[in-house]
Symmetry: C2
Subunit: 417 residues, 2 copies
């Protein structure tokens, strides 16, 4: 007997037939004797419809009203799943955010969960009633509905798992786990059976879009063992009821990962643009002067590389922004040219960032050197490099991106079982 939270996204509950499939997954777990709470998103497309209505009502609108409107989609799916579970003989009831309650802060439209009172849920779980919870929402300090921002149902699921001390939080999605790299690029990519929270955070923010970044952060803080698995696999397929090793990827603390690899995966992000400021006067405050206006313009700056200046007076500063924002970024830089005192701006769009991720690289030297040598052997020019403890990111020309991903995937042995 265990306590499990299961989360199903919009495509998994897109119509009645798919909700029936979800119910079969739930029934498999209740049949095994587990206590089950389920978190559901709105039917695919419904949230977008509601957002459109809200925008049509007024481009500028009260975030509290936006929340009241947009949160209604999950109320429908939670009720429907409860009905279908009941029709299959599984005791179930739907829960709305205010009924539990899931308490959030007052940042309507992008609220953060502050506290979940788990007592009522636990009472019902104890009598083996499935709790079907509307995802993406709670109530703010003003006693009004607050939504967690797009994709917030992942966060709801992890937060509920923490609140009821669940043994596991299963995130059902349209992929069957986390891979060593994108299988569309490298057919030899393998599904990871385990990955650490830290690695997953780097992978999620780098483009392996499986889980919302915030939900991984939350899982890490509360040490919620989170399984990524497929909702489209047959609910009764072999091994689906294997409690310890179901098909999918377990995201967990690194203590649980016995055989730590040096490198766990290769991620990438396309459509990057590089901007270099030449001969920037190297004095305190210059970074703030450059990046302040970019932040105000709503531009998401990614890699930042600054070399130690050779003469102590001038330095070069390189960073990347999304391709689509390059003109806006150059415009913003133009306005601060005087203040920053750079000599020239160079920019180049259509670049790709490839990242090597692995918690094991902390204790192994030479991981970076291996990457650089492998790329050089293929004639791939490296434009910029940034590193963190568990990640090396390399900026290259778009033409080489697939080759780079496959080369790195191979050089670290990720294509070997």
């Amino acid at each position: 007997m265990a306590r499990i939270v299961m989360k199903f996204g919009g495509t998994s509950v897109a119509d009645i037939d798919r909700i029936r499939n979800v119910a079969q997954h739930v029934k498999r777990e209740t049949d095994a004797g587990h206590e089950v709470a389920v978190v559901v998103s709105a039917m695919a497309g419904r949230t977008n419809e509601l957002v459109e209505l809200t925008r049509a009502a007024s481009p500028m609108h009260d975030a509290r009203e936006y929340d009241a409107i947009v949160a209604s989609g999950e109320l429908v799916t939670s009720g429907l799943l409860a009905i279908i579970l009941q029709s299959m003989g599984v005791d179930a009831r739907s829960w709305q955010g205010w009924q539990i309650p899931i308490k959030t802060d007052g940042s309507h439209g992008a609220a953060r969960i502050k506290e979940i009172e788990g007592e009522r849920l636990l009472e019902r779980l104890a009598i083996r009633q499935v709790a079907v919870i509307a995802g993406f929402q709670g109530i703010g300090p003003d006693n009004r509905v607050a939504t967690l921002g797009r994709g917030g149902s992942d966060t709801s699921a992890v937060a509920i798992a923490a609140a009821i001390a669940a043994d596991r939080c299963d995130i059902y999605t349209d992929v069957d786990g986390v891979y060593t790299t994108d299988p569309r690029i490298e057919p030899k990519a393998r599904r990871l059976s385990r990955v650490s929270f830290e690695e997953m955070l780097e992978m999620a923010s780098l483009g392996a879009k499986v889980l919302q970044v915030r939900s991984v952060e939350l899982a890490m803080v509360h040490n919620v063992r989170t399984f990524v698995r497929s909702s489209f696999q047959a609910p009764d397929a072999p091994g689906m009821d294997d409690f310890d090793n179901p098909p999918g990827t377990l995201i967990c603390s690194e203590d649980e990962i016995v055989e730590q690899q040096n490198v766990t995966g290769i991620a990438y992000a396309r459509d990057e643009a590089q901007i270099s400021l030449r001969r920037v006067r190297d004095r305190p405050g210059v970074s703030a002067a450059i990046f302040g206006p970019l932040a105000e313009a709503g531009i998401n700056v990614d890699m930042i590389v600054q070399n130690v200046s050779a003469d102590g007076q001038y330095t070069d500063m390189t960073f990347t922004v999304p391709n689509a924002d390059i003109d806006k970024a150059l415009g913003a830089l133009e306005t601060v040219k005087e203040e920053v005192g750079y000599e020239a701006v160079q920019s180049e769009a259509g670049l790709v960032k490839v990242s090597v991720i692995g918690i094991g690289m902390r204790s192994h030297a030479g991981v970076a050197a291996t990457a650089f040598r492998a790329l050089a052997d293929r004639g791939i020019n490296i434009r910029a490099i940034t590193t963190s403890e568990i990640k090396i990111s390399i900026l290259i020309d778009d033409a080489y991106w697939e080759l780079a991903v496959r080369t790195l995937h191979s050089v670290y042995g990720l294509d070997k079982v």
Copy 2:
């Protein structure tokens, strides 16, 4: 300054443009300095969609889950109207049933309002914030969403008007008031400026489908002055802001109706079928023996006529049922033939019930005789008659129904101003 509740149904909020029109009606009242609470239905068609989803999930379903699903439509419209009002510079916020709260009994799917805590609404109204309230719903003793049954938003509006001691409850609909009869049948039909609660109850249940019967009952009990008016009239049309006599029909207590007419209106109900049991043994319990099985079969019996038996032993019993139910009714009667001991059954489908309604007939003799004479002059045969204090209902052949409605409308002078 007055306190007003305004209610808008599904067709009045069917899309963003219509919700804008609703907002103009609201703004007219706030501009006049009134405190305003608005009750809205779901966008036309949305509730049906949600009901269909619920049925598709399972034909048999938990009414509490049905309520959670179906009540979501009103959350969307209340939020949208609040946003549009704000964009027009009118302070407004949406309220969900549980936030007020509107407390109901536990009859999910057809709940009755038990209590509305008006304090929070009154605080906001006092600072001239418009309260936009999701109609059709409240919360039951189990702290779960409960709906009031189809058309329940009328009831929500009247109940809120009672709870906050509103001066008036304006029900905006797709007709511009209550008429002396159906204007499609009798072009000379006039809009009534006032009608008593009692008369409205008879009219509503007889087919003049303007207002839900339950809401009229509630208005009568709490003496809520209720205006029926059109949401499709231009919000700034002449007289729309006349507080005492806006275009529409005021439903009120009879004390407020100064010049009481003998007859107020002519209603009708088509598709009636008549069933007569001949030579029924006249003994205690025979009515129960006849109508019990019909009730169990879910058949709605309307007119019931029983003559005093001439010989004290046998009587004839006549009643009407909907055309569609006649076979089911005859089948149910066949099963109790032995017990009831009737000699023969006669039935006739395709009949029409025409009713003369008027609170003034209580104190005026001859109202019924006038009807009978007028119909006889036109050669219309009367099949059966039932009467109450304020209503005379006459069953006739379908061929004559329009002639009968026009004849009665004219004979009581309803076509004259």
